[in-house]
Amino acid sequence: MIGMEYAWLIPVLSFVAFPLILLLGKFLPGKGSSISIGAIGAGFILFLFVMVDRLSNGATEQAFFKIDWFTVGSVELTWGFIIDPLSVSILGLVTFVALMVQIYSLSYMKDDPRFNWYFGIQAFFAGSMLTLVLADNFLLLYIAWELVGLCSYLLIGFWYERKPAVEAAKKAFITTRLADVALLVGILLLYKQVGSFSMSETFEQAELLMAGANSALSSGTTLIAALLLFVGAMGKSAQVPLHVWLPDAMEGPTPVSALIHAATMVAAGIFLVARTFVIFEAAPDSLLIVAIVGLLTTLMAASMALVMTDLKQILAYSTISHLGLMMLSLGSFGYTAAIFHLMTHGFSKALLFLAAGSVMHGIGRTDIRQMGGLIKVMPLTALAFGIGAVSLGGIPIFAGFWSKDEILLSVLDHRHPIFMILVLVAVFMSALYMARAFFVAFMGEISDENRKGHEAPVFMAIPMILLAILAVTSGLLALEWTDSFRGIGSFIFAHEGHGFEFNLMLGLGSTILATSAFIIAWLIYVKGSISISPFKRTFAPIISIAERKYYLDSAYQGFIDRVVLVFSSLVAKFDRVFVNDFAVNGVAESVKRSAFTLRHHVTGLIYNYAFVMVVGAIVLVAAWWAIAVKG
């Protein structure tokens, strides 16, 4: 029976698929999509086997695989994978959502001339992301991290004939790259102290530090390293202020948004903090910073989602808001809750994005002001979107509620009450903007033009249905099912497993908040019984700030224009004037000039040459006489 030993195949299959697709894809009927889907499908099936194996062999133990790669001096680089509950769960999330997105893309990207390349990069991304999740040493993690960023760049800028797409891809890559510098410095800092890139060794030292014993890590270094790692995570997981690339990333094809910018790549930052959680715990102040950043992100992004008018932008800001929520959870010691929410959010958000893609496919527009009543022409899409919306909004039964509730619980238990109040505000806002998006787009009157829209074709519908099922049911992961799986709390945890905890008051409170948000939205946007104009008037200044994205984009652009570009033009000038014109061309020029002057000695007259020869002979004789005879 296939067991955990084969887990390494999961990323490798997708990696191998990449060159195969590029080389052979043109000749195959599916133009390479079959190879990609085959690889990720096999990956998913392998995951199921691995999961079963894990559960039957002691669910919480870790397993390692290692291949020595090469050694440079005293630095050993290995290719190792770690199979523990955290990596297995994310493995499942990534393989499943990637599979759904690729099947969806069969239909969505059907007529694209670069269909082949699209699936190649999809496979490459899958391989990189899976490697990132399974990596057991920081160097491999960093390599996979960068590869994932590369694939994101390639896919955001997939339609590179469009300038906005190119700009968005650049923005994404540069913003995350900046954060990655901090990540690299953090990794190197840890390496310098611990002496190895291996995660398990680093975690050992961190645990020693926490226990107060002799450790290779000092508390100051650990704090700095944790913060640097967090900055890296901020870039990938779009925390404020490094979130600016994610809304722009919507320029990419919608399945790409669903996969990379909702469920998987942006999860990498959360995953990093979770994976290295022991380092953060060894420097508890870092967790406070994580929580604050997470809270800030949640609130700011939620406020921006409320005022956006493009469907995909609303979903993008919603993603940022939920990522902030996950960071807040990690910062409040809610390890299990964060990963649980990562999974439920992954399924629900992917579902929402696929539904948005279906809307685009059906009516060719994404501005919600030009939508309305779409449920009449695409009921399945409306249902899918609705399920995703209520799940993320936090209505009970649906998955999002359970994970959100666990997050609220950890915030309540571990952080100052002000966090709780603000996060409840964010919960209300998240339900509100989701409801707003759903009601404005799908309810109400349908315009004549939109009446011509059509429902999603089969290959787009099936992934939506499957994801919808998961969005409804994955909440049940919180509960006990078998002897070896006593709820997600006992499977994924930081220190000790725990059973299913539920605070009734909290659950009731958040349900009331969410439901009232949905009702208010219904009243505003469907029934029209509440008018939001007075609300808009009172809060006009805040609304306009939110609409201008808190001026962060303009701040970044101003900095680039005034500082970065000025500096680089100075450097360019130096290069042009000094290095090129003076040093390189100057030398050549002076040689040329001296040659032009000296050439005049070649007169062509023989007696000149003869004379010079005579003079030279006399000089030589004189010199010989002076040295050998006189001296």
């Binding site: 050439r599 005049h600 070649v602 007169t603 062509g604 007259l605 023989i606 007696y607 003869a610 004379f611 005579v614």
Partner: protein
């Protein structure tokens, strides 16, 4: 008494005259004649030294023979060049042959 010094002075004088001829004459043929004069001066010098210092060793005489031989060969070659030059340019005036310059 005629010493070696006298021979060497004569030789030096002849050499200088020949040198002046090479540097200051316009005609190519005259230059060649001056070169011959220089060669003769050198021969005189060699033989004088050989006679006065060690007549038993024939080194100087043999070198002089070589010089004569090489001089003959070189004159043959040089005259051929001058002839060619004359046929091309209708002049042996070296002032007018200065194409290979900057």
């Amino acid at each position: 008494m005629v010493t070696l010094m006298h021979f060497q002075i004569v030789s030096a004088a002849l050499f200088s005259v020949g040198l002046y001829g090479v540097l200051a004459r316009r005609s190519a043929v005259l230059i060649l004649m001056s070169i011959e004069l220089m060669l003769n001066a050198v021969n005189l010098n060699l033989i004088a030294i050989a006679s006065f210092t060690d007549p038993e060793r024939f080194a100087g005489f043999i070198i002089a023979i070589f010089v004569i031989t090489v001089g003959a060969a070189e004159v043959g070659l040089a005259l051929a060049i001058v002839l060619r030059m004359f046929r091309n340019r209708a002049t042996v005036n070296i002032d007018e042959i200065e194409l290979m310059k900057w």
